[in-house]
C-alpha cells in the first residue's frame, strides 16, 4: 500500500550538499502499524515530509496504492509533533477538526463526522473550547481527531507525543492503538523513543545515522492486545527493546564503549 523505493534526499548542490536520506527502501502493508526509529538528527522528519509529499525526494520514489506521490495525496493525514503550530488558535476545537473537511464532504455530514472523531479521542465535551484552553495531551488528541475525521487510509505521525508528560504519553499510545484497530487505518509512526516504538507497532524500521539508510526492519511479535504494564514486563518486550537499542547504539561507538546503559530509551 505504501512503498518507499531507494528514497534519497539531498539539501544543497555540489560539494557542500548534505545528504539527508540515502536510498531508503521499505514498505508498509495495508492496516499495519509501523514505527520508524533513528538517532537524533538522522532525518526522520525529512523522511516523513517525503512520505507525505510535502517535499519531493532528490531521487527514488514513494508509491501509495500504485501511484507515485508528487504532492500531498488524498487519503493521507498527518499528526505533527508541535500541536501548537498545527492547530489554529483562532478556531475552536470542532472548527479545527472541520477545517480540512470543508468542500470534501457534503456539508450536513461534516458536523457528525467531527463529533464522532472527537468522541473517539475522548473530547466529546470540549468541542467549543479553544485548543489553547486545553492541556498538551488534549491538544494532541484534537490533532488526532482531525486526522481521523479526514478519513485517511494512511496516518503519518511525526513524534506526536514527544512534548507531553509520561503519564499522558502512555494514555495517548493506547489511544492510538485503539483508533488504529477501530478505524482500520494504516499508521506510520516516527519516534526517537525505542520503548514507544516497540510498544505500539507491528514492525519497527530502524534507521542509521546520516546519511540515513535502513539499518534493519524488526518484526514486533507481541500480539494485538497490549498493556502498558503487562506487555512491558514480558521478556519478549525486553528482548525486542534491547535488540532495537543495540541496532541504534552500535552506530555510536563512543556510547557503547563508555557505558552500555548510557542510551536508555532516548537515543
Amino acid at each position: 500500500m505504501l512503498e518507499v523505493q531507494s528514497l534519497t534526499k539531498n539539501y544543497g548542490r555540489g560539494p557542500d550538499a548534505i545528504q539527508a536520506l540515502n536510498g531508503l527502501t521499505f514498505s508498509v502493508n495495508h492496516g499495519e502499524f509501523v514505527s520508524i526509529v533513528g538517532p537524533s538528527g538522522c532525518g526522520k522528519t525529512t523522511l516523513l515530509k517525503c512520505l507525505s509529499g510535502l517535499i519531493s525526494p532528490s531521487s527514488g520514489k514513494v508509491i501509495m496504492n500504485g501511484d507515485v506521490i508528487q504532492g500531498p495525496p488524498a487519503g493521507m493525514a498527518l499528526v505533527f509533533q508541535e500541536y501548537t503550530r498545527s492547530l489554529m488558535p483562532w478556531l475552536r476545537v470542532d472548527d479545527n477538526v472541520a477545517l480540512p473537511l470543508r468542500g470534501k464532504m457534503p456539508k450536513e455530514q461534516v458536523g457528525p463526522a467531527v463529533e464522532k472523531s472527537l468522541r473517539a479521542v475522548g473530547l466529546g465535551s470540549f468541542m467549543r473550547s479553544y485548543p489553547w484552553e486545553l492541556s498538551g495531551g488534549m491538544q494532541q488528541r484534537v490533532a488526532l481527531a482531525r486526522a481521523l475525521a479526514y478519513g485517511p487510509e494512511i496516518l503519518l505521525m511525526d513524534e506526536p507525543f514527544a512534548s507531553v508528560d509520561a503519564q499522558t504519553r502512555a494514555e495517548l499510545e493506547d489511544l492510538t492503538r485503539e483508533v488504529h484497530r477501530e478505524y482500520g487505518v494504516t499508521i506510520v509512526f516516527v519516534t526517537h523513543d525505542i520503548d514507544e516504538a516497540v510498544y505500539v507497532s507491528d514492525r519497527v524500521v530502524v534507521l542509521t545515522n546520516r546519511p540515513t539508510s535502513v539499518r534493519e526492519i524488526v518484526g514486533i511479535d507481541l500480539g494485538s492486545e497490549r498493556d502498558q504494564v503487562d506487555t512491558r514486563e514480558t521478556g519478549d518486550f525486553a528482548h525486542l527493546r534491547a535488540h532495537v537499542a543495540r541496532l541504534l547504539m552500535s552506530l555510536d561507538p563512543a556510547k557503547t564503549h563508555t557505558s552500555p546503559e548510557a542510551s536508555r530509551s532516548e537515543v
Binding site: S52, L54, P72, A74, M76, A77, L78, F80, E82, T84, R85, S86, M88, P89, W90, L91, L99, P100, R102, G103, K104, Y130, W132, E133, R146, Y150
Partner: protein
Amino acid sequence: MRKQASRWLLLGWMPVSCVLAWLFASANSHSIYFPPLTEIFRKFCDIWLSEAFVQDAVPSLVRFAAGMAIAVILGLTIGVPLGLNDTAYRAVRPIIDFLRSLPKPAILPIAIVVLGIGWEMKVFIIAFGTIWPILLNTIDGVRGVDTGYLDTAQAYRISRVDRLRRIILPAASPQIYAGIRLAIGIGLILMIVSEMVASTNGIGYFILLAQQDFSLTDMWTGIILLGIIGYLINVIYMVFERRALIWHRGWRQTQTGA
C-alpha cells in the same frame, strides 16, 4: 463592587479634576481667548445639538469613514499578495518606504489642483495617509504566518480560498488590526487638516471660520467636539478589536506562560 468603584475612580479622577479646574479657573474670565467653560458648554449645546452637526460634523465623519474604508480594502488587497510573494515584496519595498515616510500634508497642494476642494480630495488624502500602516502591517502579518499552519494546510489539501480566509488572514489579523488602529489616528488628523486648507464645510472648516470671525467661544466648541469624536472612535475601535481578537489574548497568555 468595591473593586469596580476603585477602578472607575482611578479612570475618572483625572478627567473630572481637569474639567473642574477649567470650570473654576475660567469662571469669571473676561478674556476673549479663554471664555468661561460654562459659556462654551452653553454654546456647544446651541451649535452642535442642532443642524450644524449635520452641516459640519456629518460630512467630516463620512469622509473619514470613506477614506478609511478605501485604505483598508486597498491595504488588504495589495498587502496580502505582497506578503505571500517575497520577490514582489522586495521589488516594491523601496517605493513603499518612500511614500510612507512622506509627510502626508505635503501632497495637499497637488491634490487640490488635481481633485479640487470637494470631498474627492479629502477622501483621497485620508485614504492616502492611512493606507501605509495598514499595508505594511498586512504584509508583515502575512509574511510571519507560522509555517506549521501552512504545512498543515498543504498536508490536508485545504483549498486556496480556505487557506487565505481561514488560515492566512486570521493568523495575520492581530497585526492588521494594529495597523488599522494606527491609521485611525492619522486619518483623524488628515480629516481636519484637509478641511482647514480648503473646504466649504466640516469640523475643521468650522473651527477655522470661527477663529477668523473672532467667535472664539464657537471655536472652542469645535475643538471640544473633535476631542470627543476622536476619543469615541478610538474606544469603539478598541472594543471591536478586543472582541475580534479574543482568541489572540488567550492564546498569547498560554504561549508566554509555557
